[in-house]
């Protein structure tokens, strides 16, 4: 299986571990990630908040590139990129006038034929393979699946799962052998958009999420969004310094990687601000896991 790959800026920077773990997992799953040649930034929140047309045109350029490079679908692991790319695709598909304007605006032929997928969706599509490849190293580990907002909303754009009661991430986690917990905050926003400019809000929102996960008995939170990760992981480090218990925050790909027995370093786990040690200690060594099988 070959899929167009749009890493986005974060996966080349602050969320390198997402990229690394994803590539490691893809290798095991036999998925070829063909990075879109010469991709550019999707414009993220900034284009969205200041110039709507730009917020459609920047993703459209990348979709056009993917199209010309022969991809039928493109994986955008960053939830923000996914949301922007899928959102632009939806808007162009439903607004004929906008669609007509696009080729000239981006200076490229563009037929809007490429489907946009996120990590949860792609991994969910590989559930049987994950089940086969995963050993038992995560047995007994309880995980809070955190969707946040950009992955599932708005519903008409992110139609891969139910916006109010998604199940896909839980099913992936179950396939890895870990146990998803039931909790309330999995769809609440972490405040990513204000991460840099209004930190106090973000801390408030993040704390509520961490507390709820903890109350639900989770050993770790699993995310599929660099912004969520950064907010929950990086912002948490200050709380930990103040003596609060650490709640490791893992990318879904990292968790899957652990289930596959990939070395934590290859998954970039050392790059986290909040140590995942407490979790890694409970992971069964790969060799043992294999024996169990």
């Amino acid at each position: 299986m070959k899929v167009g790959y749009y890493p986005g800026c974060s996966l080349h920077g602050t969320s390198r571990e997402f990229d690394e773990s994803l590539r490691a997992v893809a290798e095991v799953l036999g998925v070829e990630l063909a990075e879109i040649d010469d991709w550019s930034c999707c414009g993220a929140t900034s284009a969205h908040a200041t110039n709507h047309l730009l917020s459609v045109a920047l993703p459209a350029r990348n979709l056009a590139l993917a199209e010309s490079q022969g991809h039928a679908e493109v994986l955008a692991p960053c939830a923000a990129c996914y949301n922007r790319l899928a959102g632009a695709r939806h808007e162009i598909a439903t607004d004929a006038a906008l669609a007509a304007r696009m080729p000239e605006l981006i200076g490229r032929p563009f037929a809007n034929t490429v489907a946009v997928r996120n990590v949860v969706e792609v991994l969910h599509g590989l559930l049987p393979t994950i089940r086969v490849r995963a050993g038992q190293p995560l047995a007994g580990i309880k995980v809070a699946c955190y969707y946040g907002c950009l992955l599932v909303r708005p519903a008409e754009v992110c139609s891969f799962d139910d916006a109010e009661d998604p199940v896909t991430m839980e099913e992936v986690v179950s396939a890895t052998g870990a146990t998803p917990v039931a909790w309330d905050m999995r769809l609440e926003c972490c405040g990513g958009a204000l991460s840099v400019s209004r930190t106090r809000s973000v801390v408030r929102l993040g704390r509520a999420i961490l507390n709820d996960a903890r109350a639900a008995g989770a050993d770790a939170i699993v995310v599929a969004c660099p912004m969520c990760h950064s907010n929950l992981d990086f912002r948490q480090s200050a709380m930990v310094r103040r003596g609060e218990a650490a709640m490791p925050v893992l990318f879904l790909s990292e968790l899957v990687g652990l289930a596959f027995g990939v070395a934590p370093d290859r998954l970039g786990l050392r790059r986290h601000f909040t140590s995942a040690r407490s979790l890694l200690d409970r992971v069964q060594p790969p060799a043992a896991a294999r024996e169990v099988r």
Partner: protein, 191 residues
């Protein structure tokens, strides 16, 4: 009344609601002030105007007040309100459109930190085609004046290999710049 004529808000200018309807494709008049948006809004405890207040002020054509409000800049665009609105009003998109209008009509009212962030962000993209995060942080801190915020993070980021030092423009950077120019032009040409 002739229904073919657009509604006007005095001075021959279309009402705010009319303008937003054009920009978002959604009719703000559909809002019946049930407050479900605000009930689910993660920022409701912090903002002076909650999503339903914004919709209310739109329907009352209180343009200046809205465009000057800090609240519109506090929306996280998490889209919770959009999915829960019984009338498909799309408050988030409305707020986005208000932000665009505020940037154009009342730039002074845009919170400095946010304006700085968005400017820095887009400048980076325009410069290299992608976001160069260290450059963003440097530029943002200069622009916002928040020189010491998150200052503790940078070394950690670097030590974790999360921030590179050299920006690499993509091949198609000129193409990206043309897109920026075209979109800005289109925005200025809007009626």
């Amino acid at each position: 009344m002739n229904s073919m004529e657009p509604a006007h808000g005095g001075h021959g200018r279309p009402t705010l609601a009319e303008e937003l309807r054009r920009a978002t494709g959604r009719n703000p008049a559909r809002c019946y002030q049930c407050g479900k948006c605000s009930a689910g809004c993660p920022m409701a405890s912090e903002t002076a105007l909650r999503p339903h207040d914004v919709m209310r002020l739109v329907s009352q054509d209180r343009r200046e007040e809205l465009l000057a409000a800090e609240s519109i800049w506090l929306c996280l665009t998490c889209e919770t309100c959009v999915d829960r609105c019984p009338n498909e009003c799309d408050p988030a998109r409305t707020i986005d459109a208000l932000r665009e209008m505020a940037s154009a009509e009342a730039p002074a009212s845009v919170p400095r930190a946010l304006a700085a962030f968005h400017r820095s962000f887009l400048d980076q993209v325009r410069l290299t085609g992608r976001l160069f995060e260290l450059g963003l942080m440097a530029e943002y801190k200069l622009r916002s004046g928040a020189l010491f915020a998150d200052v503790t993070a940078a070394p950690g980021m670097v030590s974790r290999g999360k921030l590179g030092f050299v920006p690499h423009p993509i091949k198609g950077v000129k193409e990206v710049r043309r897109i920026f120019d075209a979109c800005e032009r289109a925005n200025q040409e809007k009626p």
